[in-house]
Amino acid sequence: MFSKIAFKNTMRSIRDYAVYFFTMTLGVCLFYMFNSIGEQQAMLVLSETQKQNVQRLTEMMGYVSIFVSFILGFLILYANRFLIRRRKKEMGIYLTLGMSRFRISGMLIGETLLIGIFSLGIGLLVGTFGAQALSVFTARLFQADLSGFYFIFSREACLKTVLYFGVIFLVIMAFNTVSVSRLRLIELLYADRQNEKYRVKNLWISVAVFVLSILCLGTAYAIVLKDGMFQESLSTAVILGIIGTVLFFFSLSGFLLRLMQAGKKWYYKNLNMFVLRQINARINTAFLSISVICLMLFVTICTLAGGMSISNLVASQNEIDMPYDISFTCYPVEDIQLPEDMGARMEEKGIPLGKYAKARSQVTVYMTDISHMEMAQGILNISEIDPLVRPYFEEEGVILRAVSLSEYNSAMKACGRSEMRMAEDQYGIISPAISQNTMMQDLARQIMEDGKTISLGGKTYTPAPEGVSGNSVTNRDYSGTWILILPDEAVKNLEISQRVLNLMYKDGVKEDEFLNTMDYELAQNASSADTAPIYHMYVSRQQEIDNALGVRIMVLYLALYIGIVFLIVSAAVLALQQLSDVSDSVGRYALLRKLGAEESMVNRALISQTAIYFFIPLLLAIVHSIVGLTVVNREFSILYMGAQMLEGAIFAGTIFLLVYGGYFILACLGSRAMLRRTRR
């Protein structure tokens, strides 16, 4: 009997529940998608390194999910409170009819259970498909191969979702039971008569405060744009920004009202006056929550855009020159002798290089006493240079390193790139592009064209024609500092910085196999008498790519996960507030109809009110984000708009539109249904 009443009531108030249901379903769907990532990757072809990365990602998502479940839990609680408030009268009637509180809370529990089961079911279903789509998206974005497309249902993620949301439902049931036991009959029956007192505010104060808020925001923007992110003034800017945002929403409606009242023609047209007053009345009480929502949207946009960009930055570091399959490096440590021939030393230790490598080259990198500043003297204006590389050129800056021409050419020959020719008294510069950034390379070219001469060991060297090379002598030279190519004679007396052995694998060699053999042999042939090192570190091209991919997936998924959750929270709170506002002002709309306002006129007023309510916080958040991202971009130069970035932006934008637009439509439909129901 009671389950029947509960079921009927739920069906009847299905429109009220729409926002609640949508939020729960989205939450479940998201939760499942991001928790099933580990198992979803079974579709992709992964190397050992990649598998480790996926493992790390799964762990990370687990931690973030705890945080997310708390946020979603509070949101669902908030939505639930809104529903209970709307049904106070109904519950009052049950109580007067003599139904016990116990049974009423039982009924509510039944309803919560029903909605919970439905949203869990649908959420999981949508989530399963979503997870498939996410995998395909991942594969596309990171150019990983799909080993074959098959359907994956993650039991573990499913159980976890059911568990987490089950706990949330239990909390809500407990909350409902408590709130039912606290109900007072008189309040329940007259619940719909308690309307908010409308507080009158002087409009001129609003205008003054609005101007103040614009000043605050303007100052905050100016500070951030001028000083950047790493100055102490940042905190001032953040505080000013928050104050400015709050004041902005506090005064906006009053200011708009003042403005529109000046333009009588527009103000006294259709229901414009009513809409503006309606918004003004609400923002007076809701400006704080709207400010919080605006700031949250700002964080969301920055998280999504920033996540895309950072993940792209990581990806573009892959484009740092890595000409060799693997390079081993030794550094001189105190007075231990570096091996003269690293390859021979490895073979001596039992590592069969010949079996795996088709070509090898050894390069010794020396240190000179020439600084970057000295090189660029007279050509470069230090204040104009990109902040990324400015430290190279400062006082006490970084010195140049050097390699000999013959070793350079042997390295080029090994990796199949073009060798360099130059006379005995000439020099060249190695300057690979970093992340497609050719700033240092261009500068080097400029210096050489200018005919800059250098002197080393009493000899003078002039620039070689075509003397700038973009080819590294070792894998992954991050720094972007210059390395000189000098005639063999010239480097003889220079101090050694490092020695590098570069290998190119034979076709079909599996790297994991080579590294395992190496580890095994080194462990077998270790002896405590050895002092000279074999190598200090190696950089493998494949591992670098895999790691970068892992970091990229991690950053991207984190940004998506947290960003979407924040988005859901902001949009859901806005929708709920809009609905509760409409339910409070149903009488006002009914009056408009009695006065003869057409249905379409009233609907238009309702939709424009909802639209203003949804899009004004978004608008300010977008302005904040533009300023914020401009600064971030300038500090890190990360917003590099490649084709992949565009794809990511479209993806994020679509999600944003779906979630935010979905809630907007729900709010419109819900409030219209509310008005229609109270028509008679």
Binding site: N195, K197, Y198, V200, K264, K265, Y267, Y268, K269, N270, L271, N272, M273, F274, R277, Q278, N280, A281, G587, R588, L591, L592, R593, K594, L595, G596, A597, E598, E599, M601
Partner: protein, 255 residues
């Protein structure tokens, strides 16, 4: 005088096949231009249902209602809104002013719904405010006004559109006697000076005594009709009380 409102054989039934409630059961009457007509009856007599049918808030079961010759029982819902905003003015018991708007804006709202050009609004409101003596409160919000002031603002809103017919549903119901008297005098003035046609529903004999003609309704039918003629208000009031006593309803003597 032109006939503004003509109600013919109006019936409004509630309920299903077996338990029909006849809220309005075959009522016919006409109201001429410039009349101040009252409808009296006890609770449940059907007077509010009748008013709702005339105001097009409710639909009649059968019968016809003509306002200036148009049969409003046959209008589509879109035409009905248009009819409501251009031909009718409402005064409600609980004022029904929008608390978010000032008095001025509340009155203006009726005009903006009618799509009146903005430049005409100010002079018309000024004129009406003078007539109802509410110039001083135009910039106030409903929460800052007394009940009587609110009701006069509502009256101003009802009449500013120059409707054919003003419908007042217990307009003094929520007012103290002094405010009630002030409001009724205002209505009387509007009726006399602007020859506004007013149809007022009330169960209060004192309020009814301001009318020029009164219909008494009992159980959905017309029970009696009174014309004020040349009576003083006191005389008219006494006659009303007699009928009310017959009706078995309200019998308060306020004099």
């Amino acid at each position: 005088m032109e006939t503004i409102l003509s109600v013919q054989d109006l019936e409004k039934y509630y309920g299903g096949k077996n338990n029909v409630t006849k809220a309005v059961d075959g009522i016919s009457f006409t109201v001429a231009e410039g009349q101040f007509m009252g409808i009296m009856g006890a609770s449940g007599s059907g007077k509010t249902t009748l008013l709702n049918c005339i105001s097009t808030i409710d639909r009649a079961t059968s019968g016809h209602i003509y306002v200036r010759g148009t049969d409003i029982t046959e209008l589509s819902s879109k035409r009905l809104s248009k009819f409501r905003r251009s031909e009718l003015g409402f005064i409600f018991q609980d004022f029904n002013l929008l608390d978010t708007l000032t008095a001025y804006e509340n009155i203006a709202l009726a005009l903006t719904i009618l799509k009146t050009p903005a430049r005409e609004i100010a002079p018309r409101i000024k004129l009406m405010a003078e007539r109802l003596e509410i110039q001083d409160i135009l910039q106030k919000y409903p929460s800052q006004m007394s009940g009587g002031q609110k009701q006069r603002v509502a009256a101003a809103r009802a009449i500013i559109t120059h409707p054919s017919l003003i419908l007042a549903d217990e307009p003094t119901g929520a007012l103290d006697s002094k405010s009630a008297r002030l409001l009724l005098e205002s209505l009387e003035t509007l009726n006399r000076d602007l020859s506004a046609t007013i149809l007022m529903v009330t169960h209060d004999a004192f309020t009814a005594s301001y009318c020029s003609r009164i219909l008494f309704i009992k159980d959905g039918r017309i029970f009696n009709e009174l014309q004020r003629g040349t009576d003083t208000r006191k005389q008219f009031f006494d006659r009303i009380i007699e009928v009310v006593a017959l009706l078995g309803g309200d019998s308060t003597n306020v004099f």
